[in-house]
């Protein structure tokens, strides 16, 4: 591990991504418990679930005046088992789909071939998305669980498969305010498009923007899968790929961008023609309120990024993305809900 730290030095200005951090609401464990008892029983079949991530938030620490970036969170709520169409999404959030596999015993949970499960998920994402050109499965995730119902303990492990570009994406320059390159009016148009572009009233996970031919301060937008049509004839410096960024970190953007970039690279490489001399313009969207010059100064960031050489677009790239546990290791997490669910413990709590 020490050598890896040395490798990540400043030799190459790599574009880096903040991995997702899973946040499981207690209502989800509650629903899983009910499902296990009433429906699943001993079934270990995969169940479709959904989750959401929202635009990253930063808060000002009132004691120090510093801005503190909150985590890059993927939230799984008690509604996860319902059809996403029947669920009101959390404000400013993108709904993503996933698969839950619940195991009956801790041994099954431990011994299952995780590499194989992960690879199958990634393969499926590749087949559904990158082979068909439909980006709606770019952000699928995998969740494996074991519920110790007697002890109210839930063991779980998330995977957020991301296709790793090889060679990896590099930055040209540093992250800068998006308002430096897109006028306020353009940012307003993008904001509007993000909020109307999602399905099921959630926000769009990614979109494309370019200045309008007639009025360079006005911006036109299109969904991600229209990349080749929308950007045909648009010079590289006027093409913008925008995504709501779950990270609020000043240097690292959120995990979803990885697969967006892979998608562009593999599905639209002819139009994109990405090279060090023709980088891709990326806007990490971080504005929750409509950006305006007076009341809500825009917070979104902008960067140019490129791959040094095009990967072999016929081969499926490797994927990574198991979530690390609180100790920073690849391993499962555990939620202990006994203090909040166990009737015995609650009786002790009551004074």
């Amino acid at each position: 591990m020490a050598s890896s730290a040395a490798n990540t030095g400043s030799a190459k200005p790599l574009l880096q991504f903040t991995p997702f951090s899973s946040t499981v609401q207690p209502a989800f464990w509650h629903e899983l418990t009910n499902l296990k008892i009433d429906v699943l029983r001993l079934s270990q079949d995969a169940i479709p679930i959904h989750a959401s991530y929202s635009i990253g938030r930063a808060v000002v620490d009132r004691e120090t005046g510093m801005e503190v970036a909150l985590g890059c969170n993927l939230v799984v709520s008690g509604d996860a088992f319902k059809d996403p169409k029947d669920v009101k999404p959390a404000p400013n959030s993108v709904t993503v789909r996933g698969v839950l596999k619940n195991f009956n015993t801790i041994e099954d949970f431990k011994n299952v071939n995780k590499q194989e499960m992960f690879n199958n998920t990634a393969k499926e994402m590749w087949a559904k998305t990158l082979q068909t050109g439909d980006p709606s499965h770019l952000f699928d995730f995998l969740l494996i669980t074991f519920a110790d119902l007697k002890k109210y303990k839930y063991y779980y492990w998330f995977a957020f498969p991301a296709f790793a570009a090889s060679p990896p994406w590099e930055k040209q320059g540093e992250w800068a305010p998006a308002v430096d390159v897109v006028p306020i009016k353009g940012l307003e148009a993008i904001h509007k498009a993000i909020h109307s572009g999602g399905s099921d009233s959630s926000i769009a996970a990614a979109l494309l923007a370019k200045p309008s031919a007639n009025d360079p301060t006005a911006y036109e937008t299109a969904p991600l899968n229209k990349f080749s049509d929308f950007f045909a004839g648009t010079p590289g410096e006027k093409r913008f790929v925008v995504f709501p960024d779950p990270s609020a970190h000043s240097q690292h953007v959120g995990w979803p961008l990885r697969n967006i970039l892979t998608y562009i690279l593999f599905n639209h490489h002819q139009t994109a023609a990405i090279s060090p001399s023709s980088p891709l313009n990326i806007i990490a969207w971080r504005d929750i309120d409509t950006p305006s010059s007076s009341s809500h100064p825009p917070k979104s960031l902008y960067i140019k990024a490129y791959v040094p050489s095009l990967p072999d677009t016929s081969a499926v790239p490797a994927a990574v993305g198991w979530e690390k546990n609180p100790a920073g290791k690849l391993g499962p997490r555990m939620a202990d809900l006994a203090p909040m669910m166990d009737p015995k413990r609650l009786a002790d709590q009551a004074v």
Binding site: V24, N92, L346
Partner: protein, 381 residues
């Protein structure tokens, strides 16, 4: 809970007289809160736990992932009154008013000596008349108790409980494109400037507001996660509750609209406190309204703009103008509360605080009980 079910629903509002509100007013105030601060959303209850005095799709208000940067116990917050003072000092005509609201606790050094009168205006649940100077010591007693009872379990992750299945070989090559974990506790800007911020462990809370039929006030519920997003234990939640209230007014109870347990601030004194806070706030609002009426003509075209251009007057300015008779989107959206006490005032153009504002004021009061949880959405962005 039985009392809650047996209590008749409050129909007539006199929220300025006793601090209580009707379910209709709760909905109106909730609509306003959710409109003004979209982090708050109305939620449905579990079908079996829907209360019929509220619309089915407006059973309670929810906001998720509310940050809590440090422990209240570490700050020794004791002077709840200061928040109320701040609120009264808000001046909608000053340019920087938004900041004033934001910085309710800003830059406050930990109190060195304790003024017993500090909290006399915010009645305490149990010990109105006791010597408040002892609070700090009672907290340390609580803390001492904590560290004895739950010493190893409270903070150290239950590593032993997690099956030993670290899988080193799982992801072969080192993934350089994945950012090294900065941990939620590592605020980027701060660490770059060389400040020691490692001590911050950012917890988050899901915060719910329900309507308590017995006490006829809103009631606040908290569900917390630690910096690794594991559910907080009750004793950990109490670390985020101000000294006067931990283990007294804050308890773990069944959340009324689902099957989960959550920490809740007991509402038995809410009406009394709200009455006092509203009185002050109302006096201030009236003052502003009279000024507005006396000076310039009522700014009707500007009033509708007011809410949209918080930069000029701040959101409060916009809202205040709305109160003076302007039309803003929220007025259209918000159902007219029944029995809005306008008639109590001789000057009928001066109406004072409207009940729509109740929850905004309520959250300011709650912020004094959980000072480090940023429940006051006016400060969130």
């Amino acid at each position: 809970a039985v009392r809650d079910i047996l209590s008749p629903v409050l129909r007539e509002s006199k929220f300025k007289e006793h601090g209580r509100i009707t379910p209709e007013e709760f909905v109106a105030a909730g609509d306003f809160l959710a409109y003004k601060f979209p982090v708050w959303t109305w939620e449905k209850a579990d079908p079996s736990k829907t209360r019929d005095f509220l619309p089915a799709d407006k059973q309670f208000l929810l906001t998720r992932g509310v940050p809590c940067l440090r422990r209240a116990t570490s700050l020794a917050y004791t002077d709840a009154d200061e928040d109320a003072e701040r609120m009264v000092s808000v001046d909608p005509s000053s340019t920087n008013k938004e900041d004033e609201w934001v910085e309710t606790h800003a830059g406050r050094p930990p109190p060195i000596h304790h003024n017993p009168h500090d909290i006399s205006d915010i009645p305490d649940a149990d010990d109105h008349d006791s010597d408040h100077g002892h609070h700090t010591s009672s907290v340390s007693k609580h803390m001492a108790k904590l560290s004895i009872s739950g010493a190893p379990a409270a903070h150290i992750p239950d590593i032993d409980d997690i099956p030993d299945m670290e899988e080193e070989g799982l992801e072969g090559d080192v993934d350089d494109a994945a950012a090294a974990p900065t941990a939620t506790s590592g605020p980027s800007a701060a660490t770059e400037e060389g400040k020691n911020t490692n001590l911050l462990s950012v917890r988050t809370y899901d915060v719910m507001i329900t309507y308590d039929k017995h006490y006829q006030t809103p009631r606040i519920w908290l569900y917390g996660y630690d910096e690794n997003r594991r559910p907080l234990k009750p004793e950990q939640i109490f670390e985020d509750v101000s000294a006067e209230h931990a283990y007294k007014t804050v308890t773990i109870e069944q959340f009324p609209h689902s099957s989960l347990q959550a920490a809740s601030v007991h509402p038995c004194k809410h009406a009394e406190v709200m009455k006092k806070v509203i009185e002050r706030f109302n006096a201030h609002v009236l003052d502003e309204q009279r000024k507005a009426n006396g000076g310039l003509a009522p700014p009707s075209p500007a009033a509708s703009k007011g809410a949209k251009e918080p930069s000029k007057k701040g959101w409060l300015g916009g809202a205040l103008r709305k109160v003076t008779g302007g039309t803003s989107p929220s007025t259209e959206k918000t159902p007219e509360p029944t029995g809005t006490p306008g008639a109590e005032f001789v000057d009928d153009s001066v109406e004072g605080m409207r009940v729509d504002f109740y929850l905004v004021v309520f959250l300011k009061f709650i912020a004094s009980i959980v000072p480090t949880i940023e429940v006051d959405s006016t400060a969130a962005f």
